[in-house]
């Protein structure tokens, strides 16, 4: 697969431009020209010429298919496709892959979410019993849906699952052909952002979810310098994203055509995605947890995780710092700064909020959602408001959230945003005197 005629080494990288938590191994890396840079460096050492090609895929399985066919050497995908990739490629010596790094993760699984049409009566997952749900079969979103259903006391047989590509699912949802859409990044929030639906379940199942990078063993053995260059490029892309989140989001949006507001929701500070390359125990555990599901689905028979995970290249890159980084579970990218409206520093990631004024290249921070609303109430146009869900902490769109007014809460916390109506209702039930309101009411009330 790694044929190198006349000193030309093909480097075929597969990525998923739409699946934006892989940007550090895909779109962003490509836009910043980082892999080219590191390959040039490598070329000076090895004297080889590298012929780099990028291959964009809509989802993981076709990427894996190309890797099986030996046409792609390094690729990034979500956790379930990644497991399938490991299992399927292991059947052939020449294309067997290893899991070499992670792009980003979410410890609670909230990268996958379930949305319903605005007109839907459903407030909880249980309401979906007997209804049609669109998802990508075998994807992380599918697994997440099954766990969530399980948590809600339903089995997959209680609903009708339709395996559809994400955009098809979105269209189907918009034209009322399905009752719910269980999808991965960035489709659920895209629907929410465009006003085509609302969040029913924010994906919090307690099972971590992530996107990772796999590389062909045969290829990396022959060209270890390519993998090193790739990982170095990925790290630089990640650091760029951490330091210039808004710029990175704009760049990705520009390259992919996705709305920048949605990209920034996920990839911004305190976003749903934590960008960290290390292969954390929790993530390996998540893969292990998912295996029975995939086996039952018939997607794979077995996966030798010990063999599949290969942290050596990362260790080489990070050196001594690797284990420390691996152990850390905090998001290196946080919202910081001073809240002018409430007059306090922004510290608590659980409440830190952000507003993106129209026409600006920077965001304005707020210590709490309530402070954010105060800021907005002062006037001005905003592209988007980012607030953490009061129950799960998942970053959501403020203007599409369900709000609860709880006069009994602290001064800067009287207005609480929730991603789902159910969570808001639950809070209101628990806290006497509080009231579920919509965004406009909340805004008017500050």
């Amino acid at each position: 697969a790694a044929g190198a005629d006349d000193g030309v080494v093909p480097v075929a990288v597969g990525y998923q431009s739409k699946t934006i938590n892989t940007v550090t191994a895909g779109t962003l890396m490509k836009e910043l020209g980082l892999l080219e840079k590191y390959l040039d460096t490598a070329a000076e050492e090895t004297g080889e010429t590298y012929d780099l090609t990028w291959h964009d895929f809509a989802s993981g399985p076709p990427l894996t298919a190309e890797m099986i066919a030996g046409k792609v050497h390094i690729g990034s995908m979500g956790d379930f496709p990644l497991s399938v990739n490991g299992a399927k490629t292991a059947e052939f010596d020449d294309v067997k892959t290893s899991w070499v790094s992670v792009t980003g993760y979410n410890l609670t699984g909230s990268l996958n979410q379930i949305v319903v049409p605005n007109s839907s009566d459903a407030t909880t997952l249980a309401d979906l019993e007997g209804e049609v749900i669109s998802t990508s079969l075998g994807s992380t979103a599918h697994g997440n849906l099954v766990s969530a259903l399980d948590a809600a006391g339903l089995s997959p047989e209680d609903v009708e699952l339709l395996g559809q590509d994400p955009p098809v699912g979105v269209t189907a949802l918009e034209s009322d052909q399905v009752d719910a859409l269980a999808q991965f990044v960035p489709f659920p929030q895209r629907v929410v952002f465009s006003g085509g639906g609302r969040l029913l379940h924010d994906g919090n199942t307690g099972v971590p979810t992530f996107h990772g990078v796999v590389a062909s063993d045969a290829y990396t053995e022959e060209h270890p310098e390519v993998l090193q260059a790739f990982l170095a490029a990925q790290r630089e892309a990640m650091e760029f994203l951490h330091q210039h989140p808004l710029e990175a989001a704009m760049m990705v949006a520009e390259a992919t055509g996705l709305p920048p507001e949605v990209v920034y929701l996920y990839n911004g500070p305190n976003g749903a995605v934590t960008f960290d390359m290390t292969v954390k125990e929790e993530l390996v555990g998540a893969v292990e947890t998912g295996l029975p599901f995939l086996q039952e689905l018939g997607a794979l028979e077995q996966l030798d995780l010990d063999d599949f995970v290969n942290e050596e290249p990362l260790r080489e890159l990070y050196g001594a710092a690797y284990d420390e980084t691996k152990a850390s579970l905090t998001n290196p990218s946080a919202i910081t700064g001073h809240d002018e409206v409430c007059g306090i520093d922004v510290a608590d990631p659980a409440t830190a909020s952000e507003a993106w004024p129209a026409g600006e290249e920077t965001t304005q921070v707020a210590a709490t959602p309530t402070c954010l609303l105060r800021l907005v109430a002062q006037g001005g146009e905003y592209r988007a408001l980012y607030v953490p869900d009061a129950s799960s902490g998942t970053r959501i769109f403020g203007e599409h959230a369900t709000w609860v007014s709880d006069p009994s809460a602290g001064e800067n916390a009287t207005l609480l945003p929730f991603g789902t109506v159910a969570d808001a209702d639950a809070y209101a039930t628990e806290h006497a005197g509080s009231q579920v309101i919509d965004y406009q009411t909340a805004l008017d009330s500050v």
Binding site: P61, F92, D94, S136, V168, A172, Q177, G298
Partner: protein, 287 residues
């Protein structure tokens, strides 16, 4: 090629043996004919054998057979599916869609083709629309169909009919062009009006072409039903196959393809059969 002498007697009817004279001047034909019965099996078997060998030895000679599933693997997969009732439901869904879509396309296609072929005004009015719509690949309509139609089922049937419509229309227009004018001339001097010429001359005279169009169209209809099922994720063989692919179950993919092939074969065969019946007045095939 030894069929030279057969043209005048061979016709499309199913029993060409009946034309054999009792005291035949060329007795060598009979064993040949027996051999010919078996011939159809030869290529299929050869293809199977080639497949087996190519996959077994993981041949990579420009084409790469190393990752392809072999016949044995696929056999297991087929056996498994034949025992699963849900598989039959998939098959039934697809069949229902194809028959509906095909029927719609058949009727509208023939009518449109005749209208265009017979009237310059209609041709001027309708042809541009058709020519613009025709090359739009049905698969590109999936998003639009999902948006337009109340149910996914209708969307798929629409896409199928849309795609199947054009080959039939084109074949019918073609028939209109090649119809010997003396047939219509004769009918008209016998007092047939436009409508009667259509029903009694144009329509039967166009049948050979129309059936050629139907035959192609059935192929296209299958392509579209399957594609649409794959993409829009509605129950059916296409969906089943695509799901196998999503799970990277290549043996399943091949099973799906074979199933589709078999279904397609059956429908094509039916059309061919009916076509032969309808067009048995044709001079014949081969010489």
């Amino acid at each position: 090629m030894t069929t030279t002498k057969e043209r005048p007697t061979a016709d499309l009817l199913p029993a060409p043996e009946a034309t054999e004279a009792p005291t035949t001047a060329s007795p060598r034909r009979s064993p040949r004919r027996a051999a010919r019965r078996l011939l159809p099996a030869v290529p299929i078997l050869a293809a199977l054998a080639a497949w087996q060998l190519l996959t077994q030895y993981d041949v990579v000679a420009w084409l790469r057979f190393d990752k392809m599933p072999g016949p044995a693997e696929v056999g297991t997969s087929i056996r498994l599916q034949l025992e699963a009732p849900v598989f039959y439901q998939h098959v039934l869904s697809s069949l229902r869609r194809i028959l509906t879509g095909f029927a719609i396309a058949g009727v509208t296609g023939v009518l449109t083709g005749i209208a265009i072929g017979r009237s310059k005004t209609t041709a001027a009015l309708v042809r541009p629309l058709i020519e613009v719509a025709r090359p739009v690949p049905a698969i590109a309509l999936v998003p639009i169909a999902i948006l337009l139609f109340p149910t996914g089922e209708q969307g798929i049937v629409f896409i199928t009919a849309f795609a199947a419509f054009f080959p039939i229309t084109v074949a019918t227009i073609h028939a209109m062009k090649t119809l010997p004018p003396v047939w219509t001339d004769a009918a008209r001097t016998l007092g047939a009006n436009r409508w009667q010429v259509l029903v009694h001359v144009v329509f039967p005279g166009a049948m050979p072409s129309i059936f050629s169009g139907l035959s192609v169209s059935m192929g296209v209809a299958w392509i579209c039903v399957i594609s649409a099922e794959m993409i829009s994720g509605q129950f059916g063989v296409g969906y089943w196959t695509w799901m196998s692919y999503s799970l990277l179950d290549y043996a399943g993919v091949v099973t799906g393809m074979l199933t589709i092939g078999l279904l397609g074969f059956t429908t094509s065969w039916a059309i061919e059969r009916i076509g032969r019946r309808v067009n048995r007045w044709l001079p014949g095939e081969g010489w």
